[in-house]
């Protein structure tokens, strides 16, 4: 174990995690050699386009999907090796909030039943459903309502209450606000932030929305085709993106401003299929800076400046060739 990743305050340490799916056309590399750490009480924002593997990553990390290869250290233990009682212990400590508040709740259960489920399953009787409802800002009169009677924001609060019921330390937030309208997004985000500040939760915040990630994250990782291409502190990444993909992503964020329009970096082509990938940099086909080396060799994530890692052969010295 090297000293850089083995600090006391590291809660989750993911090393060379891989998840491959065998599909009829070959092997789908949903998550391909991803490593990162999250310190206790911090939020790592994970950004990427649809289908880049970020949700799969979130699910593997809390044990909902089996990993193909790699290690996920929770505290000091590799969670992927857990079984039986240890696994159920881990389940209590790592929870998830899902993207779609409509399909993530059982339509046949009332609000109180949904929130009571994790308590009943794990035989915890001391906790009160009403307290949890209060924590997430759900009025107690809603206890007997069914999910379809509530709006998206309230439904998502049920999802959060359900995740909090087991007193987790680590919560994967899988696009928790992308199905909500903007006003309610802000409410839910603020609630999540407050809970984090009060109770010291650690979040993995998955989103495709850069503004949201910027708002909640301490650190940000950008994912492209199953790999992390850039990882940096929140301020760093948004101020000084180094990977061409990150630069393109950031230039696409609409900003309300009277200043003259910034030049947008438009990516050519489409995301290649994650099935049977060609060697070389995954972004090479769409990169304006690509060189011969990019087509031959897939760059690994390396630290360019303190706390800022990029997976690009030419990070920091990009020259446009096209």
């Amino acid at each position: 174990m090297n000293s850089a990743t083995k600090k006391d305050d590291v809660l989750l340490d993911v090393r060379h995690l891989k998840k491959h799916f065998h599909v009829s056309r070959g092997v789908l590399h949903a998550v391909d050699d991803v490593s990162f750490t999250i310190s206790k009480g911090k939020t790592l924002g994970l950004v990427g386009e649809s289908g880049c593997g970020k949700s799969t990553l979130g699910r593997v990390v809390i044990g909902l999907i089996e990993a193909t290869n790699g290690e996920v250290y929770f505290r000091d233990e590799d969670m992927l090796k857990f079984d039986g009682r240890k696994k159920s212990e881990f389940r209590k400590k790592a929870q998830i909030v899902f993207q779609d508040p409509f399909s993530s709740l059982n339509p046949r259960m009332s609000v109180a039943q949904q929130i009571a489920e994790p308590l009943i399953i794990n035989k915890i009787f001391a906790k009160k459903v009403m307290e949890l409802m209060d924590t997430v800002g759900l009025a107690s009169r809603l206890a007997t309502s069914f999910p379809h009677e509530l709006d998206g924001g309230r439904r998502q609060r049920i999802g959060v209450a359900r995740a909090l019921a087991l007193d987790p330390e680590f919560i994967v937030l899988d696009e928790p606000v992308s199905a909500l309208d903007v006003r309610i997004q802000a409410q839910v985000l603020n609630m999540l932030q407050e809970l984090k500040n009060e109770r010291g939760y650690t979040y993995l915040f998955i989103s495709h929305n850069l503004s949201v990630v910027r708002y909640v994250s301490d650190e940000v990782a950008v994912m492209y085709l199953g790999q992390i291409v850039e990882k940096a502190g929140n301020v760093d990444l948004f101020k000084e993106p180094m990977h061409p993909y990150t630069q393109a992503l950031l230039s696409a964020v609409p900003i309300a401003s009277l200043a003259p329009k910034k030049e947008r970096i438009l990516l050519e082509g489409d995301v290649p299929s994650p099935i049977n990938l060609a060697p070389g940099c995954r972004f090479a086909g769409r990169c304006a800076y690509r060189q011969e080396r990019c087509l031959a060799e897939n760059p690994t994530l390396r630290e360019i400046s303190s706390g800022h890692s990029v997976a690009c052969h030419f990070a920091g010295r990009l020259e446009r060739h096209a």
Partner: protein, 283 residues
């Protein structure tokens, strides 16, 4: 537990709004009464033959007329309710329990389990239903209970397929993943998360199958594998009345009506129940 009460409570409230379902419930209740109190209700013995009164049209002494052996049709219909309801309900329960279990396991676990179970079901479906029922009931021998088993087993694949397809569509939803993240066991997920969400098509299929079961019973009785004469059974009465349909039409009309009313009542109940079980319906 209070949560079951509230669920049942709302279901009942919603069911009460549905007049057709209530009507169906009353009809079913009346039929059950007929079956239970047949001895007291029937004006004559179901097997008593009277050769002075062969194929007489409905009259004051015989409200629904008499059959080809001079037996009272009304009495035979009342006794027949016993058989038809028993076979209908029990045979469907057998196929519902077996079929839903097989379908749920196949759909939930998928992969090899799914393949093996569903191919077995396919094999059964490849055999003509009536033929299969005949094979089973001739192997088990005639008799009421064996008849129920035979009729029940024949419609297992239909329930299994229906259940499997509902399970597959529900399994993909995120609340199943949420339940797994909470650490719920497979049994709990199937019983509390999957089953309540695919009850609706099963209930409808069940009510329709009761009708089928009654008809299969009739067919098997007609072939001599089901209920043995002189015990009355609606389907058997219907087929016995076939030669006289021109001159004594009432002989086939009344058993036919009895079957139809039962089936319509069951369908109304099924429809009402399906709506009532769905919390999305307005209260």
């Amino acid at each position: 537990m209070s949560k079951n009460n509230s669920m049942l409570h709302y279901t009942l409230i919603r069911l009460r709004r549905n007049y057709l379902a209530i009507l169906g419930l009353f009809v079913l209740l009346a039929l059950i009464c007929c079956a239970v109190f047949a001895e007291q209700l029937a004006p004559y013995d179901y097997a008593k033959q009277d050769y002075m009164m062969i194929r007489k049209a409905p009259s004051a002494t015989h409200l629904l007329g008499t059959d080809e052996f001079g037996r009272d049709v009304l009495s035979r219909l009342i006794f027949g309710a016993k058989i038809s309801l028993q076979v209908g309900l029990l045979a469907v329960s057998i196929s519902l329990v077996l079929g839903a279990t097989i379908g749920a396991i196949a759909g939930y676990f998928g992969g090899k389990t799914d393949n093996i179970l569903m191919r077995l079901m396919d094999i059964q479906m490849a055999i003509p239903t009536i033929l299969l029922a005949i094979v089973i009931s001739s192997a088990l021998g005639p008799g009421l209970f064996n008849l129920m088993i035979a009729v029940g087993i024949t419609s297992v694949p239909r329930f299994a397929r229906l259940m499997r397809s509902s399970v597959l569509s529900i399994k993909g939803q995120e609340f199943i993943g949420a339940a797994r993240a909470m650490g719920a066991s497979h049994t709990r997920i199937i019983l509390l998360y999957i089953l309540p969400n695919c009850a609706a098509p099963l209930i409808v299929q069940s009510t329709l199958s009761v009708a089928n079961a009654i008809l299969y019973t009739a067919t098997l009785s007609f072939l001599g594998l089901g209920i043995q004469p002189p015990y009355p059974e609606w389907g058997g009465m219907l087929s016995a009345a076939r030669p006289y349909i021109r001159n004594s039409g009432y002989l086939s009309i009344f058993p036919g009506l009895a079957i139809m009313i039962t089936i319509v009542a069951l369908n109304c109940i099924g429809d009402g129940l399906r709506d009532a079980l769905d919390p999305k319906q307005k209260r």
